[in-house]
């Protein structure tokens, strides 16, 4: 018997052993879900996602979009469950019967019938018997421990976590991409436009489309992420964490150097009376393969840092967050200092976010659905980084709530040097809502951003300041 066959046999026997060792209990079914509807009137959204670039002409849009999510969890026993999660998005009036040739995010037009069910998560969640180890295996969401600035998305991978007396130890592996599965990659032998540096975790500004992929062997051209982490509970009020992340990509190995970014981070949270303070520091080093330097990858030295606080103040809660992501004045040098972010295959579809800012225009908002837009969509911000300060106040009186925020943003480095200033602008926003039922909330949201000197034109009229108003209904269970 070959080694491979032996391994298969051992794996099969192990699987059977585990299966038969499971107590014969009835399957426990668990359901969760979400329905969110947003009516939007603004000059900011356009029914799709992507980076918003202010302009002198910003037409007013008005439309309604909705999202439904259904999660079914099949619990075989206390230590084993299968988690499945599905999503259906539509914009009222968009399409039906597949007539526009697309499937996802459709089905809101007359007739409605549409193949539009998306599979968001499917993974096994199980505990290893007689150990403190929990494993999640499959397509799942991931919490990076750094407020989402590294990776805040779904992916296929393995996440393991062991609860220890002092806190926890964990690790994760995700395969973000396998080039042979990329649209058009094998068929055309040419990378699609999205197979660019941005796809590897490098800003869109340095992208070069059309790189050649000549190997269709699965696993040969991949983008992967590895994480090792430890969390220590110093007390019930103080905890610290440390992480190592490796972002690796050789998708474009045949046209440029491999990318291997090592990331070292620490985070902490402490509660002192009515005040909670948290924050993190992330340092990136390693090499960045780009077509600009074939055979001689750029070196990387970049930084991200955050400090946040919230405290009871009067009848509500005061929140504050400051975020810094380093930028690079010239992305063509041998060393890069702009903080590298992870995007999906589309260069302008971030797989990260900084939701604690609670911005609605400047940065991505947590409630965004298909209309996921922001002035700073990718926190790398085209290599310019970000320096932001955000303050908010949440007030809840019985079933009423008011959440108000003000945010200030600037680029950390003006890459082109052509702008009149670094200041992106000031956003003020508010959300006023009422809990109709425990699970059903309705709210009105409004935001306005005063553009800063970064958008000041060399001549002529200023771009129009963006605004947005939304009526939202949110039901979750």
């Amino acid at each position: 018997m070959s080694m491979k066959k032996r391994l298969l046999a051992v794996a099969a026997v192990s699987a059977l052993t585990v299966a038969t060792a499971v107590p014969a209990l009835a399957l426990e079914n668990e359901f969760h879900g979400l329905f969110r509807l947003r009516g939007i009137i603004d000059n900011f959204n356009n029914g799709t996602g992507g980076k918003f670039t202010p302009s002198v002409s910003s037409p007013t849009s008005n439309y309604i979009e909705q999202r439904a999510r259904l999660m079914y969890i099949a619990k075989a026993n206390d230590d084993l469950k299968l988690v499945t999660h599905f999503e259906i998005d539509s914009r009222w009036g968009d399409n039906s019967y597949g007539s526009n040739g697309t499937t996802r995010n459709n089905g809101g037009a007359i007739g409605a019938d549409q193949t539009n069910l998306e599979t968001k998560n499917i993974y096994l969640d199980f505990n290893i018997p007689s150990t403190p180890l929990n494993v999640k295996l499959g397509i799942q969401g991931f919490d990076d421990g750094y407020k989402g600035v590294i990776f805040n998305n779904d992916g296929a991978g393995l996440v393991a976590k062991a609860k220890m007396s002092f806190g926890s130890l964990g690790g994760a592996y995700f395969r973000f991409d396998d080039a042979t599965t990329g649209t058009g990659a094998a068929a055309t032998a040419t990378a699609p436009a999205s197979f660019t540096n941005s796809y590897l975790g490098v800003p869109a500004s340095s992208t070069t489309a059309g790189s050649v992929i000549q190997n269709s062997t699965p696993g040969y051209l991949t983008r992967d992420m590895v994480n090792l982490n430890a969390k220590i509970n110093i007390s019930k009020a103080v905890k610290v964490g440390a992480d190592y992340y490796l972002l690796y990509s050789d998708v474009l190995r045949q046209s440029q150097d491999k990318t291997a970014i090592n990331m070292f981070g620490v985070n902490a949270e402490a509660v002192a009376g009515p005040v909670t303070i948290d924050g993190f520091v992330l340092y990136q080093t390693g090499k960045l393969g780009t077509t600009a330097f074939p055979g001689n990858a750029q070196k990387l030295s970049s930084l991200a840092a955050n400090v946040g606080a919230k405290a009871k103040l009067g009848p509500g809660t005061l929140r504050a967050n400051a975020l810094y992501l380093s930028g690079e004045r010239s992305t063509s040098g041998s060393t890069r200092h702009d903080f590298q972010t992870i995007d999906e295959r589309s260069a302008d579809t971030p797989a990260h976010a900084f939701y604690p800012s609670e911005m609605q225009i400047m940065l991505r908002n947590k409630f965004n659905m298909t209309s996921d837009r922001a002035v700073v969509m990718d926190l790398n911000n085209s290599g310019q980084g970000l320096l932001g300060g955000f303050v908010g106040y949440d007030l809840a009186i019985d079933k009423f709530f008011v959440n108000s925020n003000v945010g200030f943003g600037a680029v950390a480095r003006d890459t082109t040097g052509t702008h009149k200033g670094d200041y992106l602008g000031t956003e003020i926003n508010t959300e006023v809502g009422y809990k109709l039922f425990d699970n059903l909330t309705t709210s009105v949201q409004a935001a306005y951003m005063v553009l800063g000197d970064y958008f000041k034109p060399a001549s002529g009229s200023w771009p129009v300041n963006p605004y947005t108003t939304k009526l939202q209904v949110n039901y979750s269970f």
Binding site: L34, D143, N439
Partner: protein, 513 residues
């Protein structure tokens, strides 16, 4: 022609005389006694009707009343868990046993078929033995004959006589019984027979009992999400005082205990403000509620572990864990409160879902409500010994904490943490557990519509049901067990909160006889 007519008349006369001489036995089935199970009152009449109709045969006819009856059939229905046993005895006019028999089944689905089999056996026994008893044959002989036809196979079902008392502690609970282990009288009165308070505005979530006054009235403390009400319970509920919470504070529980031993029970109110526990303690002086401590960073619950003295136990909250670390006993030292005597809990247990009981060997075991509702028993070494097949507990009371790390998955900025029903262990070793059920429970949406309270005893291997209340049509929010009076004081939500409606609650008292 006359000859033919005469023959027919003679033939008819012969037939009439023959039928008249067949001696059809007139039987009356009296109302059954019912022990265990649900809907006991209805079951009494249903069983009587079922057996009456099925007992009728060529040899036995059944009457609607006792008048003229030659045989009186009396029966009893006993249910333990899902297993039931129906025992019936037929006696003649002198009270001699004509025949007796029983049938058993493992679920209600088998009830009607079992009645049919029982009727068949009884009818045969009556037809066979009535003449013998009528001619002064010893009743024992007839009974001995009648016990032969056992309908249900006896090997795989529990017969009442085979039931062992679960523990010495539990044995003392049965001193009032004689031949049967399970109490022969239904534990609680019917819905119309118990005490019901006036309708209270609002959905209430917690209840605790205070002192019993000289005039027999009792102090009762009832908590809603944002209010604590101090009542005196006599003929009705009389509101003495009320305090509220402010801002985003939510009340998660109310309990009473006399921690300083001054004879007056303090009122312990668990309050959460945002993510901070700001629990407080009041003293009820007969006219109002005086706050004697506040901003205590604990979840608090009053429990009599293993049926011992009632104390207040606490657990903390951390930045990560909703229920952090061990459970501690809250000790009052002067004006200060501090945590002492940590108790390490078994898996799935936290402050609000466990209690302890003593087993036969005197070891202290744990009883825990699993997150999915199953009742778990752990040994003193925290090893799982048993889990129920049915679900118990169930609470609509919850608190929320921000959970942005899972927002992408849940779509909810908050994590929902549901509390659980209290488990009471009596001094007799009975384990009292509520059972909410009904409408539906999906994810974080919970809406219970039925409830009962069930008592168990540990027999060394499993929890055996000892009694249960009749199922009510309301969600049971919380309850207290007045062991001195043997009364269950139930806080039920009689009308759910609506968009413009605050809902309503009511207090029920059910006597555990």
């Amino acid at each position: 022609m006359r000859k033919i007519a005469a023959c027919l008349i003679l033939l008819l006369s012969f037939v009439y005389v023959t039928v008249g001489e067949a001696a059809v036995i007139k039987a009356y089935v009296s109302e059954f006694s019912v022990t265990g199970g649900q809907n006991k009152d209805e079951l009494k009449g249903i069983l009587q009707t079922l057996l009456t109709t099925r007992l009728a045969s060529d040899a036995v006819t059944t009457l609607d009343n006792k008048t003229g009856a030659e045989v009186i059939v009396s029966g009893s229905y006993l249910q333990i868990g899902k297993v039931f046993s129906i025992d019936a005895v037929a006696r003649n006019g002198r009270g001699d046993v004509v025949t007796r028999s029983f049938v058993q089944g493992e679920s209600q689905d088998e009830l009607i078929a079992a009645i049919g089999k029982l009727a068949q056996v009884l009818a045969e026994g009556i037809a066979k033995n009535y003449g013998l008893t009528a001619s002064s044959q010893p009743a024992a002989t007839a009974a001995g004959v009648a016990t032969v036809p056992v309908v249900a196979p006896p090997a795989d079902i529990v017969r009442p006589a085979e039931i062992q008392k679960p523990s010495p502690a539990a044995t003392s609970a049965d001193t009032a019984t004689t031949s049967e282990i399970i109490r022969p009288t239904p534990v609680v009165k019917s819905a119309g027979g118990g005490w019901v308070s006036q309708r209270l505005t609002g959905v209430m979530s917690g209840i605790a009992l205070g002192r019993t006054l000289d005039n027999g009235e009792r102090e009762v403390f009832i908590a809603g999400n944002r209010t604590l009400k101090y009542y005196r319970m006599g003929e009705g509920l009389k509101l003495i005082a009320e305090v509220g919470t402010s801002g985003d504070e939510k009340i998660l529980g109310v309990d009473t205990a006399d921690l300083d031993g001054d004879g007056v029970q303090e009122v312990y109110l668990t309050v959460l403000s945002g993510e901070t526990l700001v629990s407080r303690v009041y003293l009820a002086d007969g006219t109002g509620l005086k706050k004697i401590a506040e901003n205590l960073p604990y979840f608090m619950r009053g429990m009599a572990l293993a049926g011992g003295k009632k104390k207040i136990y606490v657990q903390q909250m951390s930045t990560d864990a909703d229920f952090y670390g061990d459970v501690y006993e809250l000790v009052k030292s002067g004006d200060r409160y501090e945590m002492k005597n940590p108790l390490k809990l078994p898996r799935f247990a936290f402050l609000y879902n466990f209690n302890q009981f003593k087993d036969r060997e005197g070891k202290t075991d744990f009883v825990v409500l699993h997150p999915d509702g199953y009742l778990l028993v752990y040994s003193a070494a925290r090893d799982e010994l048993w889990r129920s097949n049915d679900k118990y507990g169930g609470s609509e009371l919850y608190f929320q904490r921000p959970d942005m790390s899972n927002f992408r998955t849940t779509g909810d900025t908050m994590r929902w943490i549901f509390l659980q029903q209290r488990i009471v262990v009596t001094g007799d070793g009975e384990i009292v557990v509520p059972q909410n059920g009904g409408f539906w429970v999906i994810g974080n949406s919970r809406s219970y519509g039925k409830s009962a309270v069930v008592a168990f005893a540990w027999d060394g291997s499993s929890l055996e049901e000892r009694w249960r209340t009749r199922q009510g049509q309301n969600y049971l929010a919380d309850y207290a067990f007045d062991e001195a009076r043997k009364e269950l004081v139930l806080m039920e939500v009689v009308k759910k909160e609506g968009l413009l409606d605050k809902g309503a609650s009511a207090l029920y008292i059910k006597k555990v006889e």
